[in-house]
Symmetry: C2
């Protein structure tokens, strides 16, 4: 039991497509134990959930904590969830549909467990402990293969009546734009994600305009990742910088729309591309956003790079467990 | 004093550009007394605030209520406000800037007073008592001369750190679109407000394509108001219906963006044009919104016409006073 001398712990779990991470935190959110495992999603839901349980138990053991000292567990999921029912509605990378994850986890680890979307948990982590710390409303945007986003408004994660929300990647930024995987056209994601940038950069490399890219990665989209893009910019592949600035400009326009609708005071940009080129990204997005808002909004927000990296989601999940179970 | 036999009252005030309205409600929000006056904004702030005080006092007297039975007053303002300071930041139609309205009103009527934006108060009224009653998140949109919008998320009016928020009228819906009064291009408001519709309709009338408009209102934008537009549609001015449907389509696209960002379960459309043509508007906006959201969002929202008309803002202001002062 939690006692005065040993008052309890919060656990965060971040389930990703390639790896899972569990961290045990004390009440000051100092890490006390952690465990990382590969997800191996192709082995199926039963295998993945068994690995999640072992990872959770290992982290608790490493922290030298008894399970009943755990006050609650937050689990970040790469897809939409039904928080009230504890069900993962969909996790495309894992091929999960309507999986009653809370029930499954509690059969082996019977503590209070809450699910949240992993982007939401990352934004919540930055809101509580990172780049959005003293903000009232934080909008987090993570351009990667897609573009994820989430918003903490006045301490609450914005979501719909039943499930998760905030599909900033699918707000329109371009008329008659490229066809998006979602079925719409001109979505932010299809114009400005890393995948979109890589495709443009691959074309430029093919045409011979991006020598660093050609030398480092060729014209295969899978190889044109954030670090390569950053290197090409540093080494003077001018077209690469222009392509990234254009994408960041679309992101800035989307930020402006969010500013008009939700009034975030802090916009946190995260993910691999921002980590590789924080200054370029933050400046280009800021410039476009300031140009695209009404004059009276220009000085109402700031755009900053995320601070917590991979820890954001697991910290945010643990803190969300505290928010959910801590005030009862 | 409020007693068990006479437990107290909430007062709502709606300050408009042409008229002001005060209504005294009992704790069940049944109206007990009301007073309406012309605003006469051109006479200056001192005159308008004096008229507001008289209007408030008259409504209280009509309700046969003593001032100290009033638990709180909510005042809807046509412009951005600083709620914490009780200051009207700007009211363009009244030529007000940084007016400490709460202080002024309390000098004559010393009860708890809270300001809110009048669009927000209208949305809050519909959320509490009207078309958004059982919703979790209500987005309200009022196309008129401009396009106002507000959002109640989980019982809270969405707003910025310091002042009001939700400038749905200025999110972009068209690239290289018409120049908006705010300085941006292609804003929803400049493409889809009643003013935008009237301008297109006036052109059509000038070209001889809208005979009902020409007969009823000529080509003067000031005369092409909602009732005339509705009559022209009824009498078969086909171009007028097409122009309205196009504007409603832009509104639907803006709704889709809001759905992707905030997940409202109910979208309430109000204002003169919607009142004059509720079916046409609701259907056209719904169709465009459903086409413009990701497939998984199609069935997550409904679009309905407002129910409370002019009462929405004054009811909402009174209810916001209850929300602000009632739980202390």
């Amino acid at each position: 039991m939690a006692t005065d001398a040993n008052p309890g712990y919060w656990v965060g779990v971040d389930l990703g497509g390639t790896k899972m991470l569990a961290t045990v935190y004390d009440l000051d959110f100092e890490p006390r134990g952690r465990k990382r495992r590969r997800t191996k999603g192709s082995e199926g839901a039963e295998s993945v959930t068994a690995r999640m349980i072992r990872t959770l138990q290992d982290a608790v053991a490493e922290a030298e904590v008894e399970p009943d000292q755990v006050l609650g567990v937050g689990v970040g999921i790469p897809g939409p969830i039904d928080q009230a029912k504890g069900v993962v509605l969909e996790a495309v990378n894992l091929n999960w549909n309507d999986l009653p994850l809370v029930k499954i986890l509690r059969e082996a680890f019977d503590r209070p467990i809450v699910l949240l979307n992993d982007v939401d948990s990352g934004v919540y982590g930055e809101y509580r402990f990172g780049a959005g710390k003293s903000a009232r409303t934080v909008l987090g945007i993570f351009p990667g293969t897609g573009i994820g986003g989430g918003c903490v408004y006045d301490g609450q994660i914005i979501r719909g009546k039943r499930n998760s929300c905030m599909e900033i990647g699918h707000i329109p930024v371009s008329v008659d734009g490229n066809l998006c995987g979602c079925g719409l056209r001109g979505c932010l994601e299809v114009e400005a994600s890393r995948l979109a940038i890589s495709a443009e950069v691959a074309k430029a490399a093919y045409r011979g305009e991006a020598p660093t890219i050609l030398a480092e990665a060729g014209t295969n989209l899978s190889n044109i990742r954030s670090a390569v893009l950053a290197k090409a910019v540093e080494e003077g592949d001018e077209i690469v910088e222009r392509i990234i600035r254009r994408a960041a400009g679309y992101l800035g326009k989307a930020v402006a729309t969010c500013v008009h609708l939700i009034c975030p005071d802090t916009i946190v940009l995260g993910g691999g591309m921002v980590e590789a080129m924080p200054k370029l990204y933050v400046n280009a997005v800021t410039e476009a956003a300031r140009e695209s808002v009404m004059p009276s909004f220009v000085d109402t927000f700031k755009i900053v790079a995320a601070k917590l990296g991979d820890d954001a989601a697991v910290l945010g999940a643990a803190a969300w467990a505290e928010k959910t179970f801590g005030e009862q």
